[in-house]
Symmetry: C2
Subunit: 214 residues, 2 copies
């Protein structure tokens, strides 16, 4: 299952969210790939292709049992596991993530938040108290944490990342807009908020140019 | 230029950021696709392919003039334009985005933040005062805004999106984890924070399974 493309995984989360809404209304419902795709804005063929990476689901011409498909996706995506996560950086973005409601239902559990700023250490964020960066290693080892979020300023990100990896972190979600240099066996996912927005301004620019040339 | 893939645009932003750092040190520097790629974690072939969508850059075997390439990217990505943006939702994420330092250098300028919560309206966020949702249409029309960010709870997102489109918005960056139903000519980019994290837990799960089976 290693060759599953990133966008497929992201779409599985979207399918999951929609199925969860359906199950709340009717547990025995069956849905076609056409209806599922239509509801979340992708084609039926895309739905079938995304699911095909993980074996057989549903019956041809009948569709998917909503409840069963939801359970399969939970298993594939690891939502039935508990993922303790540490977050470094108690700035605006860090605080927002601790309070983000969408994580817990997926087994994602931010158990500690760290900062090096003495003015922030000791403050309450959601249900957590901001700890000093000096405690990063101890907490990660004590709790066996493998996943970390970096939400510190650009200049601090590389140092923090190295500290996390040294303590045993295997995967990093990096929100600082900078490329990290880490051993190949560490998984890194970059979340670049500005580049998402730039995608839209780029597409708007293209539309304007096209409108002018017509 | 319409067929340029999304990941290419996102990588151009990453190249741009790196080139900007280089230009600050030495304006006349030349860089090879190999060095540029290596510095940001992609292959030389990927760099060349990404740039090839936009014509000829640099000389074969010589490399790119850093300063010129940076200027070209600014133009391609629209950073030399000013993009006024409205943001709806003054919760944690909304407030974090208003204060996010990475936007302004790319011409992205959040000029207004709205909420329907009377407790939030009138509060200061960064340099802005939270306005009532009732003022959305007036502000968008007065300032000719085309780009909006939705950072409201899931249940409110569709209503807010329709209001924005009616007022003249052409592109939406949607941070609420829900699929919007909007006319085809409206560009929508979904930022699903949970699905980014799930990508990592999925990959970690796979690594564990693989380790066990070895």
């Amino acid at each position: 299952m290693d060759g599953v493309p990133q966008p497929t995984i992201e779409r599985l989360v979207i399918y999951y969210r929609y199925l969860k809404k359906l199950v709340a209304h009717d547990d025995d419902k069956v849905i076609s790939s056409l209806d599922l795709g239509h509801s979340v804005g992708v084609s039926a063929a895309q739905v079938r292709k995304d699911l095909s990476y993980f074996g057989e689901f549903g019956c041809k011409g009948v569709g998917y049992n909503v409840s069963n498909l939801k359970k399969s996706l939970e298993q594939i995506l690891g939502f039935n596991q508990n993922w303790p996560i540490v977050l470094v950086g108690a700035g605006n973005i860090g605080r927002a993530l601790v309070n983000y409601p969408g994580f817990k239902v997926m087994g994602l559990n931010i158990i500690a938040i760290f900062d090096c700023d003495l003015d922030k250490i000791g403050n309450r964020v959601g249900g957590l108290i901001v700890k000093s960066n000096k405690e990063i290693e101890r907490v990660i080892k004590d709790k066996g944490v493998e996943l970390a979020i970096i939400a510190v300023p650009v200049d601090e990100a590389q140092g923090v990342a190295e500290k996390l990896v040294k303590a045993g972190i295997k995967a990093i979600w990096n929100i600082a807009p900078v490329t990290l240099k880490l051993p190949d066996n560490v998984l890194v996912y970059y979340e670049d908020l500005a580049s998402s927005l730039v995608t839209l301004t780029y597409r708007l620019s293209q539309k304007r140019l096209k409108a002018r040339s017509n």
